[in-house]
């Protein structure tokens, strides 16, 4: 069966913070493999005291965790480098989704194999046709990384890495290697194709930033948003999603006058770290023209930037990691369109 190599989550049509598994965005580099879970092996080797092989059954028997985390492709919002950006939320922000992931902490598995003192990175490899692989700093691997076999109460979907995926909370999605088959504990990153040729950020001076793993704080208004239509003036709630790869969302501000003035939105708890967070703000549409914007702050104090600030810091050549403030224009006709922020 021929599949598209990517598809976006229709965020504007969803409520709450959980993305139904079948609507999770997809991005695969070399197809979706069909894997027999009974014979699938996860081998952990390299700079370890004892290389071990884990079958799915072994992993399910280990102490487990269930946590809410978003996954966002670093190419999400790539169209937002142009002033008005994409026409709707699915196109502008749909390479991000949030699930309750269940699995084993990688730290626990590393305890099982015994990591040698000279180790500083982990190379993760998938079982897809291209053996997609990415390197993760050991410090991060020991923090909150999950080897996930469950997603939203069921098995991880094939498109999401069945039977096993790496889940590196808060980091660009491609690091959360799907169909995980091998972890090599190493003294340096492997400098795989997807951390050199791709997923690096070219700067104006010709150098490139590598291993820009963390997804910075971001938010978007999902209602009202591009391609929706307000049928009549009166009360309606402005709703949206905010998330940060560095921690929890501490504040979201909303503007209905194109950034002239801002007011705090209500944030719905619990505020999980590195997870989607819902914000809402009561609004009475007077039938006039309004430009709606949202701006997130995370608990490290980082504030979501404007496009101008991003361009100032990085130049015009970067593709990835665009977390600019997004604007929607509500016209007198009730139509909502993308507009320069």
């Amino acid at each position: 069966m021929r599949r598209r190599s990517s598809s976006n989550t229709p965020l504007a049509d969803l409520e709450g913070i959980v993305t139904p598994s079948g609507l999770h965005f997809e991005r695969h580099h070399t197809g979706v493999p069909a894997i027999d879970p009974d014979t699938h092996r996860l081998t952990i080797h390299g700079l370890v005291d004892r290389p071990l092989v884990f079958m799915i059954d072994d992993l399910v028997r280990m102490p487990s965790v269930s946590r809410f985390h978003f996954i966002e492709c670093s190419g999400n919002s790539a169209r937002e480098w142009s002033p008005a950006g994409a026409a709707n939320v699915q196109l502008s922000h749909g390479l991000a989704s949030c699930s309750e992931w269940t699995g084993v902490l990688l730290a626990d598995l590393l305890d099982e194999v015994g990591v040698k003192p000279e180790a500083s990175w982990i190379v993760a490899e998938g079982a897809d046709a291209g053996l997609m692989s990415r390197s993760v700093p050991l410090e991060r691997a020991l923090d909150d990384v999950i080897i996930a076999y469950g997603q939203n109460g069921e098995a991880v979907r094939p498109e999401q890495g069945y039977p096993l995926r790496l889940l590196v909370p808060g980091c660009e999605g491609s690091v959360s290697v799907k169909w995980l088959r091998r972890l090599e504990v190493a003294h340096m990153p492997s400098m795989a194709r997807d951390e050199t040729s791709k997923y690096t950020d070219l700067l104006p001076d010709g150098t490139a930033r590598q291993f820009t793993l963390v997804m910075d704080a971001k938010s978007v208004i999902t209602r009202p948003s591009g391609e929706q239509k307000l049928d009549r003036p009166g009360f309606r709630e402005i709703r949206g999603l905010a998330w940060s790869g560095r921690g929890a969302i501490s504040r979201v501000e909303v503007s209905t006058d194109g950034g002239g003035s801002w007011a705090d939105a209500e944030i719905e708890g619990p505020r999980y770290a590195k997870s989607f967070t819902r914000f809402r703000s009561p609004w009475r549409w007077d039938g006039g023209r309004h430009v709606l914007m949202s701006r997130a702050t995370d608990d490290t104090g980082y504030v979501q930037p404007t496009l101008a600030a991003l361009l100032e810091a990085r130049g015009r050549a970067t593709i990835y990691h665009n977390n600019r403030i997004k604007a929607w224009e509500v016209h007198e006709s009730g139509e909502v369109t993308n507009v320069e922020a």
Binding site: R41, T43, I44, H45, G46, R50, P51, L52, V53, F54, M55, D58, L59, R61, M62, P63, L105, A107, D108, L109, D111, E112, V123, E125, L131, S133, L142, D143, D144, R181, R182, E184, A186, H187, M188, S190, M191
Partner: protein
């Protein structure tokens, strides 16, 4: 953030009876990789050359290998010109 301390605590609590992680701090799950499993698992070649398999070769010899196994997709000079892979 390891669960090891949790396992140790559990072991102490039930020290009198059950064998939960009593002899070892590890859960002891998974099995030691056999030589066949390790070779089937594959390996990483690092930028400093670590991980390279035994052997030697020259660019001239490599060119012949490239023409035979790679050129069909990557083009005659690996420059992405007439490449099917690009």
């Amino acid at each position: 953030m390891s669960r090891r301390s949790g396992l140790v605590a559990a072991a102490l609590i039930v020290a009198a009876g059950a064998a939960i992680a009593a002899e070892s701090e590890r859960a002891g799950l998974g099995h030691e990789a056999t030589a066949e499993e390790l070779s089937a698992a594959g390996y990483t070649v690092f930028p400093d050359g670590r991980g390279l398999p035994q052997g030697r070769g020259t660019a001239r010899e490599g060119k012949a290998v490239y023409q035979q196994f790679c050129a069909a997709c990557h083009g005659r000079n690996a420059e992405g010109d007439e490449a099917a892979a690009a």
